[in-house]
């Protein structure tokens, strides 16, 4: 589930947003039914430039600049998906998804089930999410729990360029609706060698970022990199699991890791109460309690509205918060 899953081929050094763009182009070339849908996607290629040049290459019927209406985008995308198109709608920021909740709940998540499995919804909703860019209100939401709480959709969240390519390709090829959350604060932070060849990654498995024997850190998205630097600082052998497919959860991989280490920290950017950390902690409690040496701690954002840019640093989890949580859990013995 780490680098060995990527194909051996020529690579190019790219950042995460470039991986999004190149994967979209690759999938559009291989399958004519792939269409992108959203506003500001045309000549400017999206406000994050994630679709730059695609309008020029594929034209306005494959890269569809729509009216400014999130519910309209999701509803028409669902209609197209029901009629054999493989649709990739873009929502500009997670904080502007909320007007689309009607279509999300009523059709996208439910159509397959309510048609007795007859109707597929092959759509992948791309959404930049998370804080760390000092923007204004509703531009930093990390409310992935709202999607995870809804049955009938997959929720996927990559944390590196190479992961982005494999997970996005797999999402687009999947016949399930996928909420694909892009950690926008690391769109342009660093590059890595990404195989140029096509590949997909499993949508049902976690990634072991680093193996360790003392404690498991469960994390995803932009927080993965803070977990990695934190692991280097603590006096413990830390295993880091990038959960990456937030729904359905890769339960076996999570339990295997925690049963092995006997300790766990969940590290996420979302607010704490009923965030995914709550589920992970409950899951471990149900199936691995007797293997634990210490309580599970959740190092997360606070139960507040995402704050303004002067105070967002205090809100956001970082390397230090991960270090503190790991050390606290390491310090305890039942």
């Amino acid at each position: 589930m780490s680098a060995q899953d990527y194909p051996e081929s020529e690579t190019s050094e790219i950042n995460l947003v470039t991986a999004v763009r190149e994967t979209l182009a690759q999938e559009m070339r291989r399958d004519e039914s792939v269409r992108l849908l959203g506003y500001d996607m045309g000549p400017i290629g999206g406000v994050f430039r994630a679709t730059e040049n695609l309008y020029e290459e594929f034209g306005e019927e494959r890269v569809i600049d729509t009216p400014l209406s999130e519910n309209g985008i999701l509803g028409t995308a669902a209609g197209m998906a029901m009629r054999g198109q493989r649709v990739v709608p873009e929502i500009q920021f997670l904080g502007f998804f909320y007007p689309a909740f009607g279509q999300f709940m009523y059709t996208i998540s439910k159509m397959h089930e309510r048609s007795g499995g007859e109707i597929d919804m092959p759509l992948t909703v791309r959404i930049p999410y998370g804080g760390g860019i000092k923007s204004s209100e509703y531009h930093s939401e990390s409310t992935e729990a709202l999607f995870i709480h809804t049955p009938g959709v997959r929720v996927v969240c990559p944390s590196t360029p190479a992961e982005t390519k494999g997970l996005l390709a797999a999402s687009i090829r999947s016949d399930d609706p996928v909420m694909f959350l892009e950690p926008k604060s690391i769109y342009r932070v660093g590059t890595e060698a990404v195989p140029e060849e096509e590949y997909t990654l499993s949508l049902d498995d976690a990634r072991i970022v680093r193996e360790g024997s003392d404690i498991t850190v469960l994390t995803w998205g932009a927080m993965v990199r803070h977990a990695v630097t934190a692991a280097d600082r603590v006096d413990a052998d830390v295993e880091i699991v990038d959960v990456r497919t937030l729904s359905p959860l890769p339960v076996e991989a999570i339990l295997d890791s925690v049963k092995k280490t006997g300790r766990c920290v969940v590290f996420h950017e979302a607010r704490r109460t009923l965030g995914l950390g709550a589920e992970l902690s409950a899951l471990i409690n149900e199936y691995a309690l007797d293997r634990l040496h210490a309580p599970i701690k959740r190092a997360t954002g606070y139960d507040v509205h995402f704050p303004g840019h002067q105070t967002e640093e205090a809100y956001l989890p970082d390397e230090q918060r991960a270090v503190d949580a790991i050390e606290a859990v390491m310090s305890y013995e039942f």
């Binding site: 045309g42 007007p99 640093e313």
Partner: protein, 377 residues
Amino acid sequence: MSQWSESRPDDDFYRVLAPDGTITADPPDLSEDVLRRQYRTMRLSRRYDEKTRSLQRRGEISILSGSIGEEAIPIGSAAALEPDDWCFLTYRQTPAMLYWGASLERSIAGLMGAEPETIDEHLPLDDEDAPPVNFPPVYVPLAANVTNAVGSAMADRFGDTDAVTLSYIGDGSTSQGDFYEALNFAGVFDAPAVTICHNNQWAISVPAHRQTAAETFAQKAEAAGVPHERIDGNDVLAVYEGTRRAVERAREGDGPTLIECVTYRVDDHNTADDADAYRDDSQQEYWAERDPIDRFEAYLRSEGILDDETVESIGEEIDRRVEEAVDRAREVPDSDPQRIFDNHLKTTSWNERHQREELRAELEGENPFTDFTGEGL
């Protein structure tokens, strides 16, 4: 490229001042004082936009959208309100608040990212300094304000007051369901609600003809049975007069109106945008000739209400006020991180107390995760 991104490229709208400032229809009945106040606020808004943009470039402000070239709409329309009316803004109508005397320093401190509680503490407002028109906080999620505004208007109708609620929406945002839902409620409940559509022809990079196949944005009110009008949005007197008529009808119990004010977004959408990437600037010249401040100034000069001396002294006074406001806003200390817990609920909770304590510990270099009993750190 044409001057218009709309599918209806003509000047078929209500106008009082021609682009050169000459009169084309009866001007509204306004005192020289009010005319000067409108002019002064237009200049103030522009200076405010220029200054805050330079602060953004220096990193003192994060992201910013301005009103340059569109000042006639918020100012002309808000000037038609009266004390105790309500006005629901998006991010592009700060000039409406400035017209009613909102504090410049508080606006700037807000842009600098100070939490509202911090601003209240360090730049307190006396009751008499508060704008007499009510301005709820600016809305970022598009079109949510319009539905709230209609609800506000319904409250006044049920309460038998004669207050009116004004709200603003962009051309792009009229594509949102909330907008249609708001107009429909306004029509059904005869709400004293006036909705102003800032048709600046662009929603970030998407042109107006990609928002609607209707001929005009005004006619979107048709299906809701709401009266509508189309106005030259670069003519402050036309915006004022059109809004005044709608406000008067609303106040007298004759229900809502949608007004489309046609203008052009001469600037980038915001400081993260680059309009050159999606439009050429052949339009710029056409719209520069229609600048709402120049047009109004030419009219006021021809009426003898302004001369070189007053124009200059207004400019100097505005520069001074804006600089003073920036200085005062800079004196506001950065918000205490504990502020993020303020004003969520009227009572506190175990979680809130506990998380405040965790944050305090973290900021003081202690380990916030050492409570294993629920009894505190």
